[in-house]
């Protein structure tokens, strides 16, 4: 297993290099002169030249690339054109709300979706099954922001259980954090609950027809033991795959939710940076999300061999 881990980490390097090249070219291949965009319509040629020099755009492309990679390796993602703050600082300020929101969403999704999927598969074709499936169609088809506003209307405005908007860090205590993070997480979770419940149901249906499930029943085990101890773990690999891709998509899905619930996270930072054409920030964010995707993939692959002893690398 350690050998496999090392090989997987080494294999991630080429992926990250390709991403880095793409991010670098992003700035250079964008139509128009970024310096001209930055300087605005009223700039003089001297101002333009100064901006170009400060961005390093006056040097040959190869030299620019090498120095940019050098900066990256030192952990320097550049400086925001708008706020003049280092990009790393900007991201560090915003990452906690996003990550904690994403993790809470994931947790809620799994806790709701997996039992629903198991139940639906167990009562295949029955009323429970149909209800779960209809609910999952709903989860798929209603946009996140609609669900978000509905949740705000019911639980924040009518019932006054939760505040309407905002965010508090976990370091302020778990209570205040949950009070503000629950509604956005639920809104975000709706689509993942739908996705994971469907996958759990399909995977469980397959496994419930297997001989060892019959063996487990022939042993006189309770249905809960048959379902969760024997069937679910065998059904887990495809479910893990969906959870993994779901988590990766979550990072981008967070953008809308953060806007609806006014959470100061990565999502809002991304929107602001794109609208302001703040290239260094955009580049840093792309690198960050790519690295996260690679990491999630690795974790998912490793989880397979923990779930199924037959999978060895």
């Amino acid at each position: 297993m350690p050998g496999y881990l090392l090989r997987r980490i080494l294999a991630a390097i080429p992926v990250m290099v390709v991403v880095a090249v793409f991010v670098f070219l992003l700035l250079r291949l964008t139509p128009g002169d970024p310096a001209a965009v930055l300087a605005g319509d009223m700039a003089t040629p001297e101002q333009l030249a100064r901006i170009r020099a400060s961005l390093g755009l006056d040097k040959p492309v190869i030299v620019q690339f090498v120095s940019w990679i050098g900066q990256l390796l030192r952990g320097d993602l550049g400086t925001s054109l708008i706020s003049q703050t280092p990009v790393t600082t900007l991201i560090a300020q915003r990452i906690e709300p996003t990550i904690s929101l994403a993790l809470l969403t994931l947790l809620l999704s799994i806790l709701i979706a997996v039992p629903l999927g198991v139940l639906a598969a167990w009562r295949h074709g029955g009323i429970t099954d149909k209800a779960v499936m209809s609910f999952s169609v709903l989860g798929f088809s209603v946009p996140v922001f609609v669900i978000g506003y509905i949740l705000i209307q019911i639980f924040a405005i009518d019932l006054k259980w939760f505040p309407v908007q905002g965010f508090r860090s976990i370091s302020d205590g778990i209570g205040p954090f949950l009070q503000r993070a629950t509604l956005p997480s639920l809104a975000l979770a709706s689509i993942y609950v739908a996705l994971i419940a469907r996958m759990t149901r399909a995977s469980m249906l397959e496994v419930l027809g297997e001989d060892y499930v019959r063996t487990a029943r022939a042993k006189g085990l309770r249905e809960t033991a048959v379902l969760f101890r024997h069937a679910l773990r065998n059904a887990a690999v495809p479910i893990m795959t969906v959870i993994g891709t779901g988590f990766a998509l979550l990072i981008s899905g967070v953008v809308v939710t953060e806007s609806v619930f006014n959470v100061p996270g990565i999502g809002r930072l991304t929107v602001d940076a794109i609208l302001a054409r703040d290239y260094p920030v955009i580049q840093g964010l792309i690198l960050l999300t790519s690295a996260l995707y690679v990491l999630i993939n690795l974790v998912i692959d490793l989880s397979y061999s923990l779930l199924d002893p037959r999978i060895r690398y």
Binding site: T215, L221, A225, R229
Partner: protein, 561 residues
């Protein structure tokens, strides 16, 4: 007979709870006395597995429903018992082992824990006591190195070991009734013999009654006290094993027994042609698994395999799983590339021909696969399936379809089969279609890889007769791969016995099967269940040739020898 352990009375099981829908068991009655072995025999669809599942209360929920009758286990009606009561009875009073020990065990849980679960569900023993019980049970089923086996996952054990685990799991609480559903069908003959012996040994020790479900008359002859013959959801007749094998009263039983191929080889056929159509010379196949920064792991699947097949003859390759017989078949087909030796088809070596150079030779050898349910594309009509090969070789579509029609007639299917789809046919009919498809290429050699193993005996007999007939009419040669010595005895002119990738004995079928020279061949013959019976003649077989080793008794004397 004292009060039976299990008594099934007029059991009716139907599809779904709706009284108007079809029934699959129509008034089944049977009794098993204490310590007795009752064999439930019948072909697929006879209802023998449904009967056993109904006893255990394991009928697929909603799909099959017991409608009437009684199932009495030591006098207690199981059909009237609630779920909690049934759960309590399972494993403690009645237990079950299944056909496929690979799929019947949970692949992601160590086997020791799977046995331990039985104790956790039914006893209040401490973890240390439970572990002791499980380890002692593993010893009783004669597994080696029990502590290691306890922590092993199913895929780390052999098929025979897995079935021992299943038996340990079933018998750890010493139930009164053991239901064994084809427990040895997926195993090699030598393993089968050991498992049958083990079941018998534990049965003696614990006084268990055994309901043994099988389609194999050989196994019946070995282990049964009494036999219950089933057909289409009803009991045809029930009697002692001796009465059933020697003097069956019902026509159906007679037909069933008559279809069992004899171990006595058929009379040698005259050699019609000296032309060698297929020959292998020192054929070898080594699988190498390249590993990053490590030495390649090599597996020898076949080594120095040499044989010759003449026009119009049948060569059987027999052996247990992993002996390399299928590897040889695939090499001959060039479905895998051999790593050594030559394959000569009508004198031309095809072992190293490139894909394109191979093309004209492909049609000379055609294959019939084991499972006709999976070897035919379900979305392609029978006609298209048969005509596809010839049209690939440039035969006009009309001509190919005309030929397909005549081939369907040869294999005994109606002409309208051509526009139908595989799912509209039975297993035996599908295998006929597969044979017609292979013949459409007008091959010199037909490779049949376990081509009758998935079929019921009566259908098996028909397909074997068809292959014989085709050989006579078309002069095609047959390379017949099988694990079943009975089938080999009835169809092969010559036999090559394979073990661990090598041919250990090769000669005329009449000699190999009656006077084997190699110890391994003798071992295979000894392990063949019911080797002392000639079922089709309702009598014991004439004594084997003197070369055969003394016959070891597998289970209990079944009478008559």
């Amino acid at each position: 007979m004292s009060a039976p352990i299990l008594s099934v009375r007029d059991l009716v099981v139907g599809i779904g709870p709706d009284a108007a829908s079809p029934i699959v068991l129509d008034g089944v009655s049977l009794d098993i006395a204490a310590g007795e072995t009752l064999c439930l025999v019948g072909e697929s669809g006879s209802g023998k597995s449904v009967t056993s599942l109904a006893v255990m209360g394991l009928l697929p929920r909603g799909a099959l429903v017991a409608r009437s009758g009684r199932v009495l286990l030591e006098g207690e009606d199981l059909l009237a018992a609630d779920r909690r009561r049934l759960r309590a009875l399972r494993a403690s009073r009645m237990a079950m082992i299944f056909q496929e020990p690979m799929t019947a065990l949970n692949p992601v849980m160590p086997v020791g824990r799977q046995i331990d679960e039985v104790l956790r569900a039914h006893t209040s023993l401490t973890p240390a006591e439970r572990r002791r019980r499980v380890l002692s049970m593993l010893e009783q089923v004669h597994l080696p190195d029990v502590a290691r086996v306890f922590a092993s996952y199913p895929h780390q054990l052999s098929g025979g070991q897995r079935q021992r685990i299943m038996i340990a799991m079933a018998l750890i609480l010493e139930p009164k009734l053991l239901i064994a559903d084809e427990p040895t069908t997926a195993l090699d003959v030598t393993t089968q013999k050991e498992i049958l012996r083990l079941v018998h040994e534990l049965q003696e020790k614990q006084g268990t009654s055994v309901l043994f479900i099988t389609h194999d008359m050989g196994v019946v002859a070995e282990i049964a006290d009494r036999v219950c013959v089933m057909h289409q959801g009803t009991v045809v007749e029930t009697d002692t094993v001796d009465a059933i094998l020697r003097a069956p009263r019902k026509d159906y039983t007679r037909r069933l027994l008559s279809a069992v191929p004899s171990l006595t080889p058929r009379a040698p056929r005259p050699v019609a042609s000296a032309e060698i159509v297929l020959e292998t010379v020192e054929l070898g196949k080594v699988y190498a698994r390249r590993r990053f920064l490590r030495r390649a792991e090599e597996t020898v699947a076949a080594e120095a395999v040499s044989f010759a097949l003449r026009r119009g003859r049948t060569l059987g390759i027999v052996g247990e799983s992993g002996s390399g017989k299928s590897t040889v078949a695939r090499c001959v087909m060039r479905l895998v590339d051999p790593t050594a030796g030559a394959i000569r088809v009508k004198g031309r070596d095809i072992s190293s021909l490139s894909r394109s150079a191979l093309q004209p030779h492909r049609k000379r050898i055609q294959m019939v696969f084991q499972d006709p349910y999976r070897s035919l594309n379900p979305r392609v009509t029978v006609g298209e399936s048969i005509a596809e090969g010839p049209t690939n070789y440039g035969v006009p579509r009309d001509a190919a379809f005309a030929r397909a029609r005549s081939l369907l007639e040869i294999v005994g299917l109606p002409p309208d089969a051509i526009t139908r789809y595989p799912h509209q046919f039975s297993g035996g009919q599908r295998q006929r279609i597969a044979i017609a498809r292979a013949l459409a290429m007008e091959p010199d050699v037909l490779v049949a890889d376990e081509a009758v193993s998935a079929l019921d005996v009566s259908v098996q007999a028909q397909v074997l007769a068809l292959l014989d007939d085709i050989q006579e009419r078309l002069g095609v040669s047959l390379l017949f791969i099988t694990h079943d010595l009975r089938v080999a005895a009835q169809i092969c002119d010559d036999i090559a016995v394979m073990q661990k990738g090598r041919i250990v004995e090769y000669g005329a079928a009449s000699e190999v099967l009656t006077a084997p020279r190699q110890a391994y061949t003798r071992q295979l013959l000894d392990a063949a269940p019911g080797r002392d019976w000639d079922f089709a003649r309702f009598m014991p077989r004439e004594p084997a040739a003197p070369a055969a080793a003394p016959v070891a008794d597998v289970a209990k004397p079944s009478g008559g020898h």
